[in-house]
């Protein structure tokens, strides 16, 4: 299966990509994707502990399952307002 990954702010700067499709094994979790994107873009390691993920526009924990076609946001600490 594949998920669509969007990188924001510092994560985008480090990955040098805005969005990409990432292939994953069946029944992969958010945590599995987290490992995979650091493998694809080693510089993301700097954000590994502070980043959170959204799955289809909702914040998801690392053990949340992913499905083919999901949209995953890679979200550094936020500072709106």
């Amino acid at each position: 299966m594949k998920v669509r990954v969007l990188y924001f702010a510092a994560a985008r700067d480090l990955a040098s990509v805005e969005s990409e499709r990432v292939p994953l094994k069946e029944r992969a979790s958010v945590g599995d994707l987290a490992g995979e994107i650091v493998r694809l873009h080693p510089s993301l390691k700097a954000l590994e502990r502070s980043v959170r993920f959204s799955v289809n526009f909702e914040v998801a924990e690392r053990d949340a399952p992913l499905r083919d076609g999901d949209e995953v946001g890679v979200l550094p600490p936020v500072a709106g307002g």
Binding site: L6, F8, A9, A10, D13, S50, R52, S54, F57, E58, V59, A60, E61, G73, L75, P76, P77, V78, A79, G80, G81
Partner: protein, 145 residues
């Protein structure tokens, strides 16, 4: 009845009085408006401006969630919020939230809740541009789920 768009992520300048008007209602006795503006200093360094980045589709949904939760917790009559993104200069409005209620205590609490939720749960990031030419992503907190 005039249809008012009450939750907006926008690249254009925000007019706080329009946000207030969108939340106003003849049945409400009080309205509270919060306006966030770009400060000229941050940690003692002179700021030239800010670049806001947003995960727009998620941010719009989160605004909907914030409105729903505010209405669930308080007897809200009208609520409206706008958050700007893109390039902003010192003194410009980055965010505005207005809430009207029959009683002012509710309006204060619901407005306070809403701006706190905007800051904590909207997928937005800002990069400060300093007068000395440097720029940096503002250190934030992990987005709340």
């Amino acid at each position: 009845m005039k249809v008012k768009k009450t939750a907006m992520i926008t690249r254009r300048p925000i007019d706080p009085s329009k946000v207030l008007a969108a939340a106003a209602d003849d049945a409400a006795g009080g309205a509270v408006l919060f306006v966030g503006t770009i400060r000229k200093k941050s940690d003692g360094k002179r700021v030239r401006g800010l670049s806001y980045e947003v995960y727009r589709e998620m941010a719009e949904r989160k605004m909907g969630d914030i409105e729903a939760e505010a209405r669930r917790r308080w007897p809200v009559i009208g609520i409206a919020m706008s958050h700007r993104y893109g390039e902003l200069e010192v003194g410009e409005v980055s965010v505005a939230v207005a809430v009207s209620c029959e009683h002012r205590a509710d309006a204060f609490e619901a407005c306070r809740y809403s701006i706190d939720a905007i800051k904590g749960t909207l997928p937005m990031w800002k990069k400060e541009r300093f007068a000395d030419g440097t720029e940096t992503w503002v250190k934030g907190a992990p987005i709340e789920g």
